[in-house]
């Protein structure tokens, strides 16, 4: 019997050895979104090979669990995910079928980026789905605050250093460089947005609370009556009245939502519909994390000037 049992032992040892990452090879990272992939590239440079699953112009709640993504996860050394149940409809089955011990929940190659981010709207009282598809662990769109981008980049740097200690100094230097560039960009952005503190806006989905908080905007309504519930005529009428009352002239829409209702709200209220990019890759020119805010803020400020919103 001992001889019989030693055969699977040997096979397992051989297979495990074959699965190990060779020294000096780039760390193979799969990120659930293009934002996390962009932050990983900032820190990892040419010591990492990064692929994103969801595209920046795709609703991150409804990415499909395609088998081709299983292949990506199968070969990954590190999975970076947004967390807070944003990917609950599609990432768990991909992880389970990845046949990769490195990226299973709580393994060294599993990094929930939300754990070091500032999370808003964590429910404190009773929540039910009568409120729509609410996220019980808080709003997952936290990457739209550049401070959180910094926290996430730091978490990625630490995890890359753990997985590839030989390049730890390289990752540390890359993080420091990103931190400096981000700080400079933040000064620029804050100066650009300073005249518009307290500006009231409406958004399609509740994707922008961190963005609004950081840049001093006030979200007063949503096109969706509840998260994940499509616009209803009654709610749209209420929204139009509220926007007229509060003189709201900016309506932010994510690129994956239909523009029919926002356009009709716009006709009634004179508000400008802005299809902003909630993610890196949402439009072709947004190729990295800093360009994401450059693009969105430029678009927002020109719309504010155009509409005379206050």
């Amino acid at each position: 019997m001992r001889r019989l049992m030693s055969l699977p032992c040997t096979l397992v040892a051989l297979l495990a050895a074959g699965a190990a990452r060779p020294a000096n090879a780039a760390v193979n990272v799969v990120a659930s979104t293009e934002d996390l992939a962009a932050l990983t590239r900032e820190v990892g440079g040419d010591k990492v090979k990064v692929e994103a699953i969801g595209r920046g112009y795709q609703d991150p709640h409804f990415v499909e669990a395609k088998p081709s993504f299983i292949l990506k996860l199968h070969a990954a050394d590190l999975l970076v995910l947004v967390g807070r149940e944003l990917e609950i409809g599609w990432l768990p089955p991909l992880i389970q079928q990845s046949r990769n011990a490195k990226v299973q929940v709580s393994a060294a190659g599993y990094l929930d980026a939300s754990l070091t981010a500032r999370i808003l709207e964590i429910p404190t009282g009773e929540i039910t789905r009568a409120m729509g598809d609410v996220h019980p662990l808080g709003n997952p769109h936290y990457w739209l605050d550049p401070e959180n981008g910094r926290h996430v980049a730091k978490a990625i740097e630490q995890r890359l250093a753990q997985l590839d200690p030989a390049d730890a100094a390289y990752f540390s230097a890359r993080y420091a460089d990103f931190d400096t560039r981000l700080a400079q960009a933040e000064k620029r952005w804050d100066a650009l947005m300073a005249p518009y503190k307290g500006l009231k806006i409406v958004t399609y989905h509740n994707s922008w609370p961190n963005f609004a908080e950081h840049f001093g905007l006030k979200v007063v309504g949503y096109v969706e009556p509840r998260p994940g519930i499509p616009p209803s005529p009654g709610h749209t009428i209420d929204l139009i009245q509220e926007m007229k009352r509060d003189n709201v002239k900016i309506l932010l829409v994510e690129p994956y939502f239909d523009l029919k209702t926002p356009n009709s709200v716009s006709r009634e209220t004179g508000a400008k519909v802005l299809v902003m990019s909630p993610s890196v890759g949402g439009v072709p020119e947004v190729t990295d994390y800093i360009k994401l805010f450059d693009y969105d803020l430029n678009m927002l400020i020109s719309a504010i000037k155009q509409t005379g919103a206050k």
Partner: protein, 385 residues
């Protein structure tokens, strides 16, 4: 045909069950959850950062009493039917099924999934299995009671079937709702081919399902499935499969049924409008070769074609064509067609209406309207793909 004895297979099963634990005993193995949790915060020593590390932000603390509870969900499947059907058909009103799902990670090496069904006052374990998710060599091993991997429709729980009922071929040749679901062991492996997802699955079952009835302990049932998937673009993909199944059918002491299947699916979903529109076309073809003690071998063939289009965020339409001989009497062929309309009030409920025309092999026809209300509470499950 008797490729393995029961004893051999039980031994193979025991080996698979042991593999994760053996793998973990190997020195230098992949880090486990325990190691990771501490390494990330305590024992790892990243180099001193050149910039000041950010202050730790506030975090949500889960309620401690619930932290190890499995994810619990319950799905109700309420069916209504009108119209005349020669066999009686579905009841006028029925809580067709209530399914309770309990799912959690067992330990760093495995997860467990239980799906208990309550239908017609009978409680059943639709599935209850452990999956070893950390095995080397691209293997995924499941053990317990599970749905079989034959084709596409067999693996689907009722609430993800896109119509109120299953296709005729499923009822005639594959055992209907419970299909070949049985207690057994499933081993699947990714086969590395550049640019293509290829997965081979082998399952060994006790041989006690809607199709297979093992007269003795050694008469196991086997299911094999090969899946090929390829993205044609970011919006479209093709999914092909080939399946085989073999086992004793209970007609006599040594009578068997062999099943061969082929399935093909094409999907189109534009990513920028993924929540509003998609198109799916699917077909499954099944051949059944059934031996019987009291008659000739029955060679029966059947299949279905299904096309689905999503009109808007909440509205889906589908058309299905059915054609299948019967496993126990291949001279009888049932054909049919269905039109289906599904409305989603939210991601957690759906209302469906279906017009079904069936022409039975005996020469009678049925025209029925079927209604379905599905509602889900509890943990957010994975979206079907």
């Amino acid at each position: 045909m008797r490729p393995f004895t029961g004893t051999t297979l039980v031994f193979i099963g025991a080996c698979f069950a042991l593999v994760p634990h053996l793998a973990l005993a190997a020195p230098g193995d992949a880090p486990t959850a325990d190691v990771t949790a501490t390494a990330a915060s305590d024992s790892a020593q990243p180099p001193a950062p050149t910039a000041e590390p950010p202050a730790p932000p506030p975090q949500a603390a889960p309620p401690s009493s619930k932290v190890f509870n499995p994810d619990i969900s319950a799905i109700g499947d309420f069916l209504g039917a009108v119209g005349k059907s020669p066999g009686g058909g579905e009841p006028s009103l029925e809580l067709h099924e209530a399914e309770v799902g309990l799912q959690a990670i067992v330990d760093p090496y495995a997860r467990a999934d239980f799906f208990l069904t309550f239908a017609n006052d009978v409680v059943g374990v639709e599935e209850g299995y452990v999956s070893f998710t950390t095995l080397p060599g691209g293997l995924l091993v499941k053990a317990g009671k599970m749905r079989d991997a034959f084709g596409k429709i067999d693996g689907m729980h009722n609430h993800v079937v896109p119509t109120t009922d299953r296709p005729i071929v499923s009822k005639n040749l594959l055992g209907g709702e419970d299909a070949l679901a049985d207690s057994g062991i499933s081993v699947s492996r990714l086969i590395p081919i550049p640019g293509v997802f290829m997965e081979a699955t082998g399952q060994v079952f006790r041989g006690e399902s809607e199709v297979f009835k093992a007269p003795t302990r050694g008469d196991l049932a086997y299911v094999g499935h090969l899946r090929l998937y390829r993205d044609l673009s970011e919006s479209s993909n093709v999914d092909l499969g080939g399946s085989v199944a073999y086992g004793h059918n209970g007609s006599g002491a040594d009578t068997t049924t062999r099943l061969f299947g082929a399935d093909a699916t094409f999907r189109y979903k534009p990513l920028r409008r993924a929540i509003y529109h998609h198109f799916l076309a699917r077909t499954e073809l099944v051949w059944s070769r059934r031996e019987a003690v009291d008659g000739p071998v029955q060679n029966a063939f059947g299949g279905y074609g299904y096309v689905e289009y999503q009109f808007s965020r909440r509205l889906f339409g589908g058309v299905r064509y059915d054609n299948s001989q019967r496993a126990e009497d291949a001279t009888l062929r049932d054909t049919g067609g269905s039109l289906v309309l599904t409305y989603w009030p939210s991601e957690f409920s759906q209302v469906r209406g279906q017009y079904r025309h069936t022409h039975f092999g005996e020469g009678r026809t049925a025209n029925e309207l079927l209604f379905q209300l599905q509602f889900s509470i509890g943990a957010h499950g994975a979206h079907p793909f």
